[in-house]
Symmetry: C2
Subunit: 543 residues, 2 copies
């Protein structure tokens, strides 16, 4: 049965990009829902096909009485309820949610960076809208820090809390600058076998993933909400460390196989990045997440992590930087360089994203149609050539053998171009979509930059302020030196993290370019093979 949807809002599609213009209340036939990136392929009542934004339409369920939106078709436990109760069972009270919404406003401040492109901004606010617990969002995290623990740490070291469960974190001097010391026991986590499980007599269902860390080899079962919890812990604890948000949580098609596979893949990439980080990987909370199998211990560990005092500014108390003092001019230059890099990176990633997005949509619409039009025109010509029925002495009207063979070859060519059209349609799955996903992941990482930069800038300013005060005899030498020492810790941490980021970036972009180009090569080779098969049909006519 053909699925249908009703148009909720007018949408003026760019034909050039394969989009369909749709009008409120129009009923469309859904051709494909796994197009990705928030698009469906649909056909309007005039038979035109194209891409429509899924947010602009609402799927209907066919009934004998007619079509109704699918949501009204649910049991009394609506998808929304289930979603809240199941995935958000640790959601905080509405008031804290409101407070957090206010915090989100701070997100608009992008710390002198160029305006983040819409997609990232959206992600960012999605990420904060999503964090149901009382944790602060990115922007507020640093503001709060500056107001309380951050300045306190810099100026006076903050309250001494003794040894952190994570121990001392060392920064060493390496060839390419300061680095986080790699501790022994680097490990990875394999995420696999997503299983739909349910509780409350099947009313609530969720996906459980099997997580197997390489250091223990013992698998644990984790749900998306557990990953979300882990993300919140890491983000609040590791100031100045890039903790990218989790992959988007989508409601639509949450239990569809393709979606589950994709989300698992994205969680895997997120997890790889976290376990590979020299500071995050060996941290207590990560070890707990990846190794705890006992339900009681799990809850204990959770509570302990939530009460961790070595977070935000306090996290720096356990960092041991290299012995050399940093000079302020160098720090400032480094700061500016990185700021320039992030601005430029932000804009060039936005450009690639746009180009890839458009190119991908062209594959789904115009390119496919172009090749199918070519195919159809050959098929039509073959149909014409079938009308070659010359009379022969036997009185039969069959066309001569060569004519029949040519017609067959043309038909084959027609089919070939139809298939090439389909290959174009399928291709983005293999090259452009992975690239888009990859860039989204980087978008998540980039959303951490403004806070890092703001925080570090604040540090540098504080140091300069103290120096000034010392020169004016308002602060004594020892005190100013102590501030500078603590600021060095922060600058070293920033440099180590930037260094870590760059090393990852080089590896990651090398990898994605290889993936992309390999798939592009495969694609053009497959076209070549198809066309060679078609050519062969004509070459055979010579024999």
């Amino acid at each position: 049965m053909m699925k249908k949807c009703r148009v909720l809002y007018d949408f003026s599609g760019e034909t050039d990009n394969g989009e369909l213009t749709i009008y409120e209340n129009e009923v469309l036939q859904i051709i494909r829902q796994d197009v990705g990136e928030g698009w469906w392929e649909a056909e309007n009542p005039s038979g035109q096909r194209g891409l429509v934004p899924e947010a602009y339409v609402e799927q209907m369920v066919e009934e004998n009485q007619g079509s109704k939106p699918i949501t009204t078709q649910q049991s009394t436990v609506s998808q929304d309820d289930e979603w809240d109760d199941d995935e958000w069972d640790e959601r905080a009270s509405q008031s804290s949610y409101d407070a957090q919404q206010q915090d989100s406003g701070l997100n608009g401040n992008n710390y002198g960076l160029s305006a983040p492109n819409r997609q990232f901004k959206q992600r960012n606010s999605e990420a904060s809208a999503r964090s149901g617990t009382v944790k602060k969002n990115f922007a507020s995290r640093f503001s709060v820090f500056a107001k309380t623990g951050g300045e306190a740490y810099l100026l006076g070291g903050g309250p001494k809390k003794g040894a952190s469960p994570d121990g001392t974190i060392r920064i060493i001097e390496a060839e390419d600058g300061p680095r986080w010391e790699e501790t022994v026991g680097k490990y990875t986590c394999e995420i696999k076998n997503p299983k739909k499980e349910s509780k409350l007599k099947g009313i609530k269902s969720f996906i459980a993933y099997q997580v197997t860390p390489s250091n223990t080899g013992i698998r644990v079962s984790r749900r998306y909400k557990h990953f979300d919890w882990l993300y919140e812990r890491l983000a609040e604890k590791f100031t100045l460390v890039i903790v990218p948000p989790l992959p988007d949580k989508q409601v639509t098609g949450r239990y569809e196989e393709a979606f589950i596979e994709k989300r698992m893949d994205q969680l895997q990439r997120w997890m790889n990045r976290m376990t590979a980080h020299p500071v995050i990987g060996p941290s207590d909370v990560m070890i707990h997440f990846t190794s705890c199998t006992d339900e009681k211990l799990w809850k204990q560990g959770k509570r302990k992590a939530e009460k961790d005092e070595f977070l935000g500014a306090a996290f720096y108390q356990n960092i041991e930087p290299p012995a050399n003092n940093l000079d302020v001019a160098t720090i400032e230059r480094q700061h500016d360089t990185f700021t320039r890099f992030t601005k430029s990176f932000d804009s060039s990633v936005a450009v690639i994203q746009q180009v890839i997005h458009d190119y991908s949509k062209k594959h789904l619409g115009p390119f496919k149609r172009e090749y199918q039009k070519i195919g159809n025109s050959f098929t039509e010509l073959a149909t014409t050539f079938n009308l070659d029925n010359r009379p022969n002495p036997e009185g039969k009207d069959d066309p001569p053998q060569e004519s029949v063979q040519l017609t067959e070859a043309l038909n084959f060519t027609g089919k070939t171009y139809e298939e090439i059209g389909e290959l174009f349609y399928q291709q983005p799955k293999y090259d452009l979509h992975p690239f888009e996903d990859f860039l989204k992941e980087y978008g998540g990482m980039m959303s951490c930059f403004p806070d890092m930069i703001h925080f570090h800038k604040h540090t540098v300013q504080t140091v300069k302020e103290c120096q000034k005060q010392r020169e004016e005899q308002k602060m004594d030498f020892e005190e100013a030196e102590a501030v500078k020492k603590r600021a060095d810790v922060i600058s070293y941490a920033m440099m180590a993290e930037v260094n870590h980021f760059h090393r990852e970036r080089v590896e990651d972009f090398k990898w994605i370019m290889q993936v992309y180009l390999k798939e592009q090569i495969k694609f053009y080779k497959s076209l070549t093979i198809k066309l060679e098969e078609a050519l062969q049909k004509y070459d055979e006519l010579d024999r």
Copy 2:
């Protein structure tokens, strides 16, 4: 110096097809004039580029005083004069030209066929507008025949004129139906070495082609106007034989190398078709055209050919058909089959032409831009990555080696996609334009169909009319039998010609499909190679 042109008429371009919207009096920069198919690539004052129809613009010549249209820049002997005097020195008086213009009106009658597509119609009328001598155009030729010689031949055999210089033309029964008998001495003609020559002290110049027939091996020199003369002789003589019009004569860029090469190529294909035809190839006028080297003999032969009496209906007096009488029902069925074929062929060729035309324009604009956009986005990313200058212990800010290499690889990828864009731009030259030229050639052949069908239909109707009269005792048996015998000659000729056409069609379409597919394969292989080179840069980073 950048060439410019002034817009003569508003033109609303389809962006989708890479066209540029232009406005009267706007001055454009000409980017490329060898795009083909009547298009130039130009840039408007806002810096947008796209295709513009060359007929809508007028090229300007830069002078110190400013820009002037190029035509005002010519010597007192304007291009038009030269054209008329040189190429049209056998042009008839204005009155006969007018008469011929009236004849053209008959072209509108398409004999019950579907409306020929615009392009063919245009060709047809171009062809008739072009025939400067007193010869009839296609449509009028048959109408005249029906009014005079045709009916006379059918009903009474027409005036006996004795043996034709071309001798007897036999139609034989072959496996695939009636065929023109192939006489010995089949030959080809090689056309090459186009040379610009001039007369009247260089005021008039023209292109002379070297024509070397394979049967004599002695080369003769012929100009376009000689080919045109030959075409007129063949078209008026060989009723019911497909004599396609010559390739278009273009004024613009008449002496440009690319144009001359292309026209020579088209003349070559036209000539091949004519010499290969079992009736046309061995004809007196063809032998004269291909072998006469002496100027005096050339003029004598010309006059003789122009006075040939065995043309139109009289041509049938020298045809010897197979012994078997044809039955009217079979003839009618054959007639209808061919009519159906031509209608269908007409429309499927029009479809392919449109598809190829659009596809070709997309290569020149959107496709090229798409790949260059991809290239630019990689290049831009490389520029960003150049900003990776982490401090290292030596105090240098150079990025580490891996980072530099990645940036280089990205730059290379950017360049690769730029080049791929350029390959897309160039590609139509190798596959789509030859295909378009080929279809145009077939368009010319197809323009002969309506007259053939009309003529044959007239014959069949006359036969049926005579049979009716005989049944009504208004015509005696012998007379009716004699009409039927002469009608059989015409039907056999039609069948032989249709058969010949189909055999050529099979060969020709096989050939063009091979050309097309081979070039397509080459193209996709070249993309693969380019991408493999780009991929290698990343693979090298692993070492």
